[in-house]
């Protein structure tokens, strides 16, 4: 198994009720599969919310395989300024 950390901001935090999740995943789990898991956990509260994925604090535009120790964030529309 691999261990990953999921950072939760804004609408993701609001939907899941936590700032951060620590998860154990099957080796070979991809970013898209983790996103599906997060969306399911949110029980519909993230439907219609576009999420970009950052792995280890960098935007990752394509589906990638996660590694042990990765920090993942599903980034809802940002609102700086």
């Amino acid at each position: 198994m691999i261990q990953v950390k999921v950072k939760c901001f804004s609408q993701v935090q609001y939907a899941l009720g936590v700032n951060e999740l620590s998860l154990e995943l099957e080796p070979g789990t991809t970013s898209a599969e983790l996103e599906e898991l997060v969306r399911n956990t949110a029980q519909g509260k993230l439907d219609g919310v576009i999420l970009r994925i950052a792995v280890n604090q960098k935007y990752v535009p394509v589906e990638i395989e996660l590694k042990d120790g990765d920090e993942i964030a599903f980034i809802p529309p940002v609102q700086g300024g």
Binding site: F9, Q11, P77, G80
Partner: protein
């Protein structure tokens, strides 16, 4: 040159009297918290950042802006945490030879900031409730 700061207290503007003798144009943008958000009265906004990534992305964006436009310096401060109505959340200063490139750089920089810097707003309503702001502009 680029200076980027993410700060948790009130924003002190960058000093205007710097040594920019080849810069005819100094352009300053202050983004302030308005009393209403989506038509609702608010007390304050609370800005949340992705610690580390927000500053990295903002620095990269500032450097990109200086490459894309013929400007000399871009200094930027973004405030994090609770910001009351009327206070500044974003402070950007651009120095350039002429105003045209400074204005274009300012427009582009802020548009990109609002697209990609991992910072979010929570609205603090008059009854104290804290909800993610769904501002789309």
């Amino acid at each position: 040159m680029v200076i980027v700061e993410i700060v948790s207290g009130p924003i002190t503007p960058f000093p205007s009297e710097d040594d920019h003798q080849q810069d005819g144009a100094e352009l300053v943008f202050n983004g302030r918290v308005r009393a209403t958000e989506h038509g609702e009265n608010i007390m304050a906004l609370e800005y949340e950042q992705y610690d580390g990534m927000a500053e990295t992305e903002l620095t990269q964006l500032a450097n990109e802006t200086c490459k894309k436009f013929p400007i000399h310096d871009l200094f930027c401060k973004h405030r994090i945490g609770k910001v009351s109505v009327g206070e500044t959340s974003l402070h950007v200063v651009i120095w350039s030879k002429h105003r045209k490139e400074g204005l274009e750089a300012m427009i582009w920089f802020i548009i990109e900031l609002k697209k990609r810097i991992p910072i979010w707003k929570w609205a603090i309503l008059e009854d104290g409730t804290r909800i993610p702001s769904e501002c789309k502009h």
